[in-house]
Symmetry: C2
Subunit: 120 residues, 2 copies
């Protein structure tokens, strides 16, 4: 998943994925759409391949790339969990608890310091 997020985090690679959404394309067709050199595009394709976001198939002297959506959905699943609150419907009560916890920790480690009662 690290690789998937990293792959999507690049503008060129996102553009490639968008192109591939409309159907498979050869490496040359993809490269033609960018101002950068073909080797650069080739390496972008390599990143996408290693992230599992595209599949490649040799066809004569062409190499055809196709979009693979499975890793995308996996990433979407992770993101969806973020938007789902876990054990925190009590508004900001948890903040108070956390601050208190840290204070206790620090006290045991550093010494006398009963300070920030301010909480929130």
């Amino acid at each position: 998943m690290d690789e998937v997020a990293g792959a999507v985090a690049d503008r060129v690679r996102r553009e490639i994925l968008l192109m591939l959404r409309d159907g498979p394309l050869t490496a040359g067709q993809i490269a033609d759409r960018f101002a950068i050199s073909r080797p650069a595009v080739s390496r972008h394709l390599r990143v996408l391949r290693e992230a599992g976001l595209v599949s490649d198939a040799a066809d004569g002297r062409h190499r055809v790339y196709a979009l693979v959506t499975a890793p995308i959905e996996e990433l979407m699943g992770w993101l969806a969990e973020l938007t789902r609150p876990s054990a925190w419907q009590h508004r900001f009560d948890a903040l108070e608890t956390e601050v208190y916890r840290t204070r206790r920790e620090r006290r045991t480690a550093a010494g006398p310091d009963r300070s920030e009662e301010k909480t929130a």
Copy 2:
């Protein structure tokens, strides 16, 4: 969105977002959870802030960070579009078309190797 994807593409930052899912935390509390130095965490928080993924609020000498889910949903929206087929329900028939077109282009050999005219 570039920034959002880039922010999520880092392991430490993803962990921070997960921590924040359970409620706001101070910078110190976040930093305590990692083996890296606090300045390093501070910069991760800066990246998250500039991506709009967290909100920060000064509270005394503490700084409280909270998760902001809006950009996440935006990224999810972009990813969802990838999984949606656009004008291509004919399985891999398009592949054949693309390869054929490319071959023809080369055969004409007039020079211009523009390919992307068929999708558009």
